[in-house]
Subunit: 333 residues, 2 copies
DNA sequence: TTGTAAGCGTTATCAA
DNA sequence: TTGATAACGCTTACAA
């Protein structure tokens, strides 16, 4: 494998000059520049970035840590991240933890071991103190599901208000007995959304009944099962607010299997506006997050920390909106 | 930021010894080892892997290049890759090209610039000659959608036979006029599947009509639109074989909107056994690929090349199977 | 404009 | 068992 030294020898010049040519330094004569380019062309030389990165203490790589790629939700966010990172001259690498702390540790270490310049994380299973220490010392930004105790920069929506808005909409639609299918993983947002759910009931003067909050994994089957419980309990619900679209899809199916009509007999609202909510039959009303913006802003926040690790940590809250579809009787067939 | 030199000074020893301790060299006295560990603990020292990687010419990182993360299909494959890579002491990084050649080039270069030890690619938009040269010189394995001219190792299913099996099943179910919704991106597998479709018709003595092959993007909307064309053309089809589940979902919806019953009036088969095919209403019969095995085998093939870049290139073909669901009248409600 | 040489943080060779 | 030091491939003062 050719190194810069070989190129210098073949082009009859010094490694410094070759380096200058590679890095577009204008202070190289046209003749020499051409000679070097020719040799690079001939030999197919590619600089070793490990050597470069060591010397410059920069990798121009960002790492995005996702809990789970199966979640449609992250696709559009990632596009925003890549777009903005590209503007800043950074490449984006992604890793998936599958909610495993050991794996997460390995990837978090990539910023400590200088293999990436910063990290954007969408979920952490680590304890707060560890993350706090990390965020204090290395560029680290949280998105969507921040651990507030970490005191890092973060970007997210107002989950409490989002839930409040969704449930309030169900109430406006005339549904009186509203259940919620929450989750068991993302406790921060789940708690916030449960709070919003209760506040909406309270504001409307509806009674809260703890039986009406169920908890599902983020999959279709448990969404189906928990909705079934809500529909078959002593005081059945007539509407369901779910913390995820796939769970809402399971719920809709349960409604159908009970001989009820989604959006008429039973209203259903999901969360995240994933393509499933759009394509499911019937289509599912859902709370949409500004995914692209979440991505670009996460990068901006990270850049601030990369440029100055002591930059003040910012929390940025972005607006959400509801997408109205058949499962609440909107957007008729 | 502490470096190995600092640790050596604080522990009153040499950098060589610290390096030995870090790397678990047994030839270090217990006393010294403890002293070094204590200092590492106190200081929170983390070795700089860029320095290490430069010295050892190894990164113990693999890069997986995906065309598009929105595709559910890759999630399980990625798990297989991560599992097997873990066994081999490698971390897995992922990048998404969005089918953009420029972006793909940037990520492919990571193996040339020595930032990763090898690459597994699920789709390439580059021209064959470039990929051939890359695969000759660096560890590079193709999965699912190989460019055969690249002469790299690869792992995939037999797409021709998979399509043949799917269409033959529709014929066995009694459908006589079978359409196909192919795609416009993954030409290798699409061509193979179109060939399999035609061979199945031929084998059954059914006439092939070019009007019966439509081409959709890999999304719901065009699946819906193309199926609509198949159902409304002069000689309407009574069954549809689609190269992707999401397209099949659109097709199913179109069938419903024509007042027809999927799995009875019109049979539909999708491809990839993504969760959508399982959860869609009605559920969708589909061709399943051995996703987990595709992942582990891709890693094995890559390791062979990492250990010896001149190792012979292997093509591995894995079995597929059909998952029977409602859209072909199986697996009754 | 060009070249020499130090240095990035590590590992590994060699000698002690 | 330990330590001194060269080397990995590159960038960047500094000197010429």
């Amino acid at each position: 494998m050719n190194k810069i030294k070989d190129i210098a020898r073949l082009a009859n010049t010094s490694v410094a000059t070759v380096s200058r040519v590679i890095n577009g330094d204008p202070n190289v004569s046209e003749a020499l520049k051409k000679r070097v380019y020719d040799v690079i062309e001939e030999t197919g030389y590619v600089p070793n970035f490990v050597g470069r990165n060591l010397r410059t203490s920069k990798s121009y790589k960002l790492l995005v840590i996702l809990p789970d790629i199966a979640n449609q939700f992250y696709s559009e966010i990632l596009k925003g991240i890549e777009e903005q990172a590209g503007h800043c001259g950074y490449d984006v690498l992604t890793s998936i933890t599958h909610l495993n702390t050991e794996i997460e540790t390995r990837y978090l270490d990539m910023v400590k071991t200088r293999q990436v310049d910063g990290i954007i994380s969408f979920y952490t299973a680590m304890d707060s103190e560890k993350i706090r220490e990390l965020a204090r010392t290395y560029p680290y930004v949280q998105a969507c599901e921040p651990d507030m105790a970490a005191e890092s920069s973060y970007v997210m929506i107002d989950n409490e208000k989002a839930a409040y808005d969704a449930v309030t909409y169900l109430i406006e639609k005339g549904y009186q007995s509203i259940g919620m299918i929450s989750g068991t993983f993302y406790r921060n947002s789940e708690n916030a959304r449960e709070t919003g759910y209760r506040r909406a009931l309270q504001t409307a003067g509806l009674a809260f009944c703890s039986d009406n909050i169920k908890h599902a994994s983020y999959d279709y089957a448990t969404g189906y099962a928990e909705c079934t419980r809500l529909l078959e309990q002593k005081e059945p619900v007539t509407a369901v607010f779910s913390v995820s679209d796939v769970v809402a899809a399971g719920a809709v199916r349960s409604v159908l299997d009970h001989g009820l009509v989604p959006g008429k007999d039973v209203g259903v609202i999901g969360f995240d506006n994933t393509s499933l909510s759009e394509t499911y039959n019937p289509s599912i009303t859902t709370v949409a997050q500004p995914r692209h913006d979440i991505g670009t802003i996460a990068v901006d926040l990270l850049m601030e920390k990369i440029n100055d690790i002591h930059a003040i940590s910012k929390g940025i809250v972005l607006p959400h909106h509801i997408v109205y579809r058949q499962s609440t009787g909107d957007c008729a067939e």
